[in-house]
């Protein structure tokens, strides 16, 4: 599992990570979202014991990042932002090299390399020079490298960024599969759809601080305004917009559709449907507009920006 408490990292005067506290249980996937330079990579580097925190502490896979760095790295698989492969080696030798570093006996590391490469559709490229791999193949190889020693914790930086849809699905399937066997994942990504598909919980980081952390629903409830309903009718609205005034707030409408916000859809929606019947409007569908992670993300970042501006204004 991953446990961090007030993890902070300063580079000179610049605070890259500011009091990050996270907990990811075994079998859980946490997606860390944030703009470029938000502190995601530095956080991951501290979790891998590559960088020492300025303050705070963390335990990864049960080991302390400061006092047991070698053990932390032994039980963590890392997919770095830059894959950094040795291009003159072939895929099998490359994985064999890392397997040896993780003290896997030769036979086991060869078997695991072949199994994982086959799982990701790279079996034909085992003996091929890495320099001849496509971008997506290289990313998959880097991912296999992170998994070669069967780590308990996987820290994956943009795991599918360079992949075609089919390859991306293979990777997602692999993550889902590993999650079942109680592996802990921290994924940093800009791909909000992927985060939505994979993550149990989302953490949004900005200026080194975690500004939101929870499940998608928790974040939606906390940060996004009242749910939006969309009503589609057969024909014209026949004055429905004016008729609904006072009952709901119509936010948008077209010739045969409208959207409104309500805090109590259970009470309000039947009343809306009654008024449609009264006006002779034939309802085709009435459904909530799904709030995407993108909506939540943008809302959270905008709120944080506003708070920061207010604070600056007060300070000035």
């Amino acid at each position: 599992m991953i446990e961090t408490e007030n993890l902070t990292k300063d580079f000179g005067q610049f605070r890259a990570v500011d009091n990050v506290t996270l907990k990811v249980e075994p079998g859980e996937v946490l997606a860390m979202l944030g703009p470029n330079g938000a502190g995601k990579t530095t956080t991951v580097r501290m979790m891998t014991s590559i960088l020492a925190p300025t303050s705070g502490h963390a335990r990864i896979a049960g080991y302390d990042i400061l006092t047991e760095p070698e053990y932390v790295r032994e039980h963590v698989g890392v997919l770095t932002e830059q894959h950094g492969l040795y291009e003159r080696m072939n895929g099998l030798d490359y994985l064999d090299f890392f397997g040896e570093i993780y003290h896997l006996p030769r036979q086991i590391r060869r078997e695991r390399a072949t199994k994982l490469m086959t799982q990701f559709g790279l079996e034909a490229a085992l003996k091929k020079r890495v320099g001849e791999y496509s971008k997506g193949m290289k990313q998959k190889l880097a991912l296999v490298r992170a998994m070669i020693h069967d780590p308990r914790v996987l820290l994956l930086d943009e795991p599918t960024s360079a992949m075609d849809p089919q390859s991306a699905k293979q990777v997602r399937d692999a993550i889902i599969d590993l999650r079942k066997s109680e592996r802990t994942f921290l994924i940093t990504t800009h791909n909000l759809t992927e985060a939505q598909l994979l993550a149990d919980r989302i953490a949004i980081i900005r200026h080194g601080r975690i500004i939101a952390n929870g499940t998608l629903d928790e974040l939606a409830q906390h940060f996004v305004e009242q749910p939006i309903m969309e009503l589609r009718v057969n024909g014209a609205l026949n004055g429905l917009v004016a008729d609904l005034d006072g009952l709901v707030t119509v936010t948008k409408h077209g010739p045969n559709w409208l959207q409104y916000q309500t805090c109590d859809p259970y009470t309000v929606n039947p009343q809306v449907l009654q008024r449609c019947t009264g006006l002779g409007v034939a309802v085709v569908t009435l459904s909530p507009i799904t709030r995407t992670l993108e909506d939540i993300y943008l809302q959270v970042v905008a709120e944080d920006e506003a708070i920061a501006q207010n604070t600056n204004g007060i300070a000035q």
């Binding site: 960088l51 070698e70 032994e74 894959h83 492969l85 040795y86 570093i101 003290h103 880097a142 066997s181």
Partner: protein, 505 residues
């Protein structure tokens, strides 16, 4: 080398058998990969093969021609001594490639971003450092020894039928190894300060130029050394070997300090922020404590900032005193050897010397002496400072102790010639009472400044530690050394001659 097996249970319940190994065997995993990778690169393989197979033959041909040419003029000794020199060159050319490999291994990986996956593995900094250092050394050394073997075979069995002292061959082989080690350990230090191979190659001139000068020096020694045919080897070459081993150890230590995950990933740009650097140095120059709090005024600076920096010199001062006492004792011991005896008049005539010292009471001479004494002391200290920075503090314990060795030698000679000890004390003590502590403090500060990269304080990078030490050194130079330098020079120019004059009359 111990090897144990420890199974680790995964959350899935599977056991993965893991074999724990020693530091060296872990390092060798990296070495094997890097060496194989080097041999996959034709740009490394081609010069190694050419220099191993072609150059020894060429060198041998040149040696034959040269020896033959010189024989015509009866200067056979020059031709003979060219052979070991060329053997050294045959060995040196391939090891110069180690510099290229080291820069490629350390900075090249950083540049290609392939270092981070390696840093994310359980390998320790030391294992990575040893692994990479060995990988930069092994291929060039194989080529170097291969070339030397070829050259030796032809020199021993060919037309020249060279019969060298075995110890000379040992010396040349040792020199080749330590030179490779110094270049590689230097390359690691250079690499840590850069993020591109281009910048590293430019900075590498700081390694290759001094190394070439050392090779020049070694070749001159081989030609002119009076003990060139001694069965115990050339004395001066042994001194160079020892000095280079010391430098290599210090450089390896600096390299291992710099080769840590924090330093490697922390430095991402090669820009210079001179303003920021000067600010940091200034901060330490006026600091009164470890938190870098500034002194409030010049009085506060003297009262708190200077003692704060002097306290840091406790160990270096103790070391300096020990080195100076040893140097003095060595000088005295050498003076007792009849071979080093100087012919001084057995029955000293103080009157004639006394007249000479009386001349110093003239004001113009005293002023001239003041300038000379100050300039002499200042330039010795400046030279020591510069060399100390580049030699990681070694020069601080080489140049100033020479003065004390000479003093010890002179005392020995004076006593042997029947002079009174009080004459020696009269000539040294009046200004020495200020000058000796000044030299001790200055040497200790210069040693600390040079040596601090080899052992930076905890939680400080090498750069931060060096900036702090430089600030401390400037502080001590301005607040302690400079005033003492002036006072000592005044005493030496005005008081010492008077005391000697008084003593003699």
């Amino acid at each position: 080398m111990t090897t144990t097996t420890s199974p680790t249970k995964n959350p899935s319940g599977n056991y993965i058998e893991r074999t724990r190994r020693s530091t060296l065997s872990n390092a060798l995993i990296v070495t094997r990969r890097e060496v194989r990778d080097s041999f996959r690169d034709w740009r490394i393989v081609a010069p190694i093969i050419i220099l191993t197979l072609v150059f020894p033959g060429l060198a041998q041909y040149l040696a034959q021609q040269f020896a033959g040419f010189l024989e015509g003029y009866g200067a056979t000794i020059i031709g003979e001594r060219t052979i070991p020199f060329l053997l050294m060159i045959v060995g040196f050319f391939p090891i110069s490639i180690s510099l290229v490999i080291a820069l490629e291994t350390f900075v090249g990986e950083k540049e290609r971003r392939s270092l981070e996956p390696l840093l994310s593995t359980p390998l320790t900094n030391t294992e990575l450092y040893i692994g990479k250092t060995l990988s930069a050394m092994i291929p060039p050394l194989i080529a170097s020894f291969g070339g030397m073997m070829l050259y030796l075979l032809t020199a021993l069995t060919g037309e020249l039928a060279w019969r060298p002292q075995p110890m000379l061959l040992v010396q040349i082989i040792l020199l080749t190894i330590v030179q490779a080690l110094v270049m590689i350990s230097g390359a690691v230090v250079v690499s840590s300060q850069t993020t591109s191979t281009r910048a590293a190659n430019l900075l590498a001139s700081f390694i290759i130029i001094p190394m070439t000068l050392i090779i020049n020096g070694e070749s001159v020694i081989m030609f002119i050394a009076p003990d060139a045919t001694s069965p115990s080897g050339i004395g001066a070459l042994w001194a160079i070997i020892v000095a280079m081993i010391v430098v290599a150890i210090l450089l390896l230590r600096v390299g291992s300090t710099l080769f840590n995950r924090e330093e490697l990933l922390g430095r991402t740009i090669d820009s210079i922020n001179l303003g920021g650097m000067f600010k940091r140095i200034l901060k330490w120059t006026i600091a009164i404590n470890d938190e870098c709090s500034p002194a409030r005024n010049p009085l506060d600076w003297y009262r708190r900032a200077i003692p704060y920096s002097l306290r840091k010199l406790k160990t270096p001062i103790a070391l300096t005193i020990a080195v100076f006492v040893t140097a003095f004792a060595l000088g005295f011991m050498v003076s007792q050897d009849p071979a080093w005896r100087i012919s001084l008049p057995e029955a000293p005539s103080y009157d004639s010397v006394s007249d000479t010292f009386a001349l110093f009471s003239q004001q113009s001479l005293q002023q001239e002496a003041l300038g000379l004494v100050m300039w002499q002391n200042a330039r010795v200290l400046l030279l020591t400072l510069i060399l100390s920075i580049f030699s990681l503090g070694v020069a601080a314990f080489v140049i100033p102790p020479i003065v004390y060795a000479i003093l010890g030698f002179l005392l020995g000679q004076l006593l042997l010639a029947g002079y009174d000890l009080s004459l020696f004390l009269a000539a040294i003590l009046p200004h020495g009472i200020v000058e000796i502590p000044m030299i001790v403090i200055a040497t200790a500060a210069m040693f600390r400044l040079g040596a601090i990269p080899t052992r930076p304080p905890k939680r400080m990078t090498v750069g931060q530690a060096w900036t702090m030490a430089l600030g401390d050194t400037i502080k001590i130079a301005l607040g302690v050394i400079l005033p003492m330098l002036i006072v000592a020079a005044l005493l030496e120019a005005y008081v010492t001659p008077m005391v000697i004059g008084q003593f003699m009359s």
